[in-house]
Assembly symmetry: C2
Homo-oligomer: 594 residues x 2
Amino acid sequence: MPDYKAPLRDFRFLLEELLDAGAIQALPGYGEATPELMATVLEAAGAFVEKELQPLNRSGDEEGSVLANGAVTTPKGFKEAYAKFIEGGWTSLPCDPAHGGQGLPKMLHIAVEEMICSANLSFGMFPGLSIGAYNALLLHGTEEQKRIYLPKLVSGEWAGTMCLTEPQCGTDLGLVRTRAEPQPDGSYRITGGKIFISAGEHDLTPNILHLVLARLPDAPAGTRGISLFLVPKILLEADGNLGARNGVTCIALEKKMGIHASPTCQLAFDGATGWLVGHPHKGMSAMFTMMNAARLAVGVQGLGVAEAAYQGARDYARTRLQGRSPAGVAAPDQPADPIIVHADIRRMLATIRARTEAGRALALWIGRELDIAEKHPDAGMRQAADDLVALMTPIVKSVLTDIGHEAANLGVQVWGGHGYIRDNGMEQLARGARITESDEGTNGTQALDLVGRKLGLHTGRLLRQFFHPVGDCVEAASAKPEMAEFALPLAKVFARLQQTTAFVAELGLKDPEAGAAVAPDYLKLFGFTAFAYLWARMAEVALAKEAGDNTGFYKAKLATARFFMERLLPEHAASFAAIMAGKGALGAMEPAIF
Amino acid sequence: MPDYKAPLRDFRFLLEELLDAGAIQALPGYGEATPELMATVLEAAGAFVEKELQPLNRSGDEEGSVLANGAVTTPKGFKEAYAKFIEGGWTSLPCDPAHGGQGLPKMLHIAVEEMICSANLSFGMFPGLSIGAYNALLLHGTEEQKRIYLPKLVSGEWAGTMCLTEPQCGTDLGLVRTRAEPQPDGSYRITGGKIFISAGEHDLTPNILHLVLARLPDAPAGTRGISLFLVPKILLEADGNLGARNGVTCIALEKKMGIHASPTCQLAFDGATGWLVGHPHKGMSAMFTMMNAARLAVGVQGLGVAEAAYQGARDYARTRLQGRSPAGVAAPDQPADPIIVHADIRRMLATIRARTEAGRALALWIGRELDIAEKHPDAGMRQAADDLVALMTPIVKSVLTDIGHEAANLGVQVWGGHGYIRDNGMEQLARGARITESDEGTNGTQALDLVGRKLGLHTGRLLRQFFHPVGDCVEAASAKPEMAEFALPLAKVFARLQQTTAFVAELGLKDPEAGAAVAPDYLKLFGFTAFAYLWARMAEVALAKEAGDNTGFYKAKLATARFFMERLLPEHAASFAAIMAGKGALGAMEPAIF
């Protein structure tokens, strides 16, 4: 079974050496978030997930969450682990101190989330959903709602959900049918059925706060008629204590490919009492508050799985003896050499690693921008950071989840037939990673968000926040001979991204269907450029420090950077060709052809 | 759930219009195998798998095969379906009439195998393993062994297995430890443990013939000391009737990611009685008789899953309503348009289809060469066909299984979150396809076989059987203006294959590790070239027939050919770049780096 160890050295490299986490400390409210404190938190989180969450990962998947008489029992150990989780303050880490939170940077929280997902993806779903509910209430709730509910979500005493999907609609929420009837007391009666509700019912907390999309009686059709409601599982007495059970019931759990410990619920709302969150008919924008955060979080899930897959594959490759190195016997005292001597095994490991480390850099970079967007005293800086986050959210979600799934499958492949055996734990990573590519907007939907929405917003303003730093990096790196091996491939892919950006923008205006046709490849090309940029920057740091280092850390960084540039980055050529072909041959594949 | 319909039209297109199956009839022994007969057999096979095997696919996976007291019970319905399967003569189809077989072409058998695997991959494992045992006994068994055992395998009354892997060895069979002690009566006592034995124990047949790799007492170390033994589950009385139970026991079933209905057994051989098959210490070459056929068969498994995934995804895309076409409302009478209006959905469907149809053409082409290699009256023609089969076997295995897994995952993706739900049947395809990339030699091992063995055999003689027809096709197509859109991309990828072939051959001689480092990408480039060649040839046929056709079949072929050339073939550029980089940056990723 994979024995996960938190990649603390890499986190510190990124926070302290690449992303200047020290500057985060200068933001209002983050005075205490010194690099030292962040390192300490990361160490503690790593120790927690290794000791408490990882041991429940295999057993949790085999046992699964179970529904009986409307109540869901989580697998053995989950309840105890969750109690320790909230006792350790892990739910409150990024939350507002005004509601009991620790007020630590979101960048740091992303690193912690990665570790949780590496150790136990299913477990991570519970607090992950609560954070979504927290964000929605924080930004759109009334003062009273915040006062009553936020401290409970922050402490982890209660959990939250996002109730969006119905059988007839997932991507197209304009088709939501759940109804909300206003009551004389200002509350609403919520009636309808929701599906795919992660953590929709469970035994980790005595109460669950459902955030539910529904239609008011006078709602216009489509997405402009959706409102958001808060529907607690247990209603509160006037004194705030838990009272009567609300009219929401878990009627079934989905039998899924993976994440069996995470209960995916069908919920029946049968005249349940709820309260409006935000404005009538404005539920979609409140929902996107949850959704954008959830999309970044799902990307981080992919990243967490990728790291776990890397470690599991690497450890096996070091110890499994099979065949001999083509370069000559490597372990003469053994009956065979460890399979890590084989180039193809190292190719798979290096592929996972090069993408995972770049993906981690991307996630933490965007995490830093989240912090700047929220806290920076300068409005222009806040806006610029917010622009970058908005632009990169679909890319983080899509690219990192694809990486997670690819990494898990490469990990299975390194293990040969043994990777297919459940007890060995590798195939669980592949089954778990699979949902991340479909969750919270399929990766195809992300591409439409990027091309159809983000590219054109404010006449392309968002793009500048990516193009400027990348352009600066190309220019600076080109001036340094030792950076040539990184600067040249980065310059090439960046030029192609610029070329296709203009092309796609024009194409989409002329023919929206053609824009949609090239969107997934454009997103991929964007991801390749972001990774090339981050690898160039990481290589620059490593080049400066390699000489004085005897741990091998910077040497490995440089070798991985070179592997990325030489063996993985050329894949962007296929995306480039596909974009430049426009609708082309795909346009001729009409629905009737299939 | 996917509702699979056998792709009979495409089979007939390939057999009759592309591959000149009529010529097969001219081979000695195939006189009755007219195109009409083959079409009739395909229809019957399609009807059988749709009616008898497909309905057991989901239930079989949920129920799984179960071990109790050494006996394995297959899922409900499997035993009855298998009885109908042998009653229909499906096990005997490609077998030698001298042993009760129908003596039909292997090309036809490959088409039937594809359909079986589309409908029920787990079920297909049982007869698939029996064919492996049949082949080994047919080519290496004594006359007496053939007389006693072959008719039972041919009729399907008994089943077979391949017992190769042990806990310490899978890829490296030189590490096999199972022992065989000669007995005075000419038999051997077999003692040892085998793992990953598909269909190693079950209730479909009263007897199972295990073909077991083991070491004689005087065996040299490594692969030159491996012998092959026949070990029946039930020993025969002198009169041929079933007698005492032999000393082989199923001690555990593996819990796997998928193919739950197929029992993957741990077998304990405890002084079991066996008989030598072939010569002492020559078990590896006998094993490769089974293995090469098994590798092609595993490729066909991938193909079968790909077709099932295509159909499942297509049917869902036609009926799931979500959002509106960017080109304008397509279904004004519906609350939303079917998702097939979205370019990205069609991109995924077209990707599966373009690869599946080319993969099917490749599998049947190699099937035809198998028939020529066995039956052609001219020794030179037999050798040429055998060369092509040997060259292409690792490519068929690797490329088609990668396609199967990719197709299944794209199929899941088309279904969105619903693809992750077990009852919907799509994720089962992904879990099933996953093993094919590791089975019978991982795909990395296939690449080493291609570069390390097949390329250099007889100073490159094998390559000619692929390069000549492709070169001829480029030349002929280049002379026809209407073929230019196919000829040009084919010429380009073929030129790159030729360039890299020379490069890889030289590289491998100078530095075997560098040859191994580029092998997987070389195999991929080879696969792209084969697909481009087959699409060019299919397009040529379709161009000639499109005008007179009102079914849309040829129009769809051409549209898919164009999609392949424009959107998928450019991916080869990444493999080309990776090969030309040689060991390069991967070489610097030493084991200590990880």
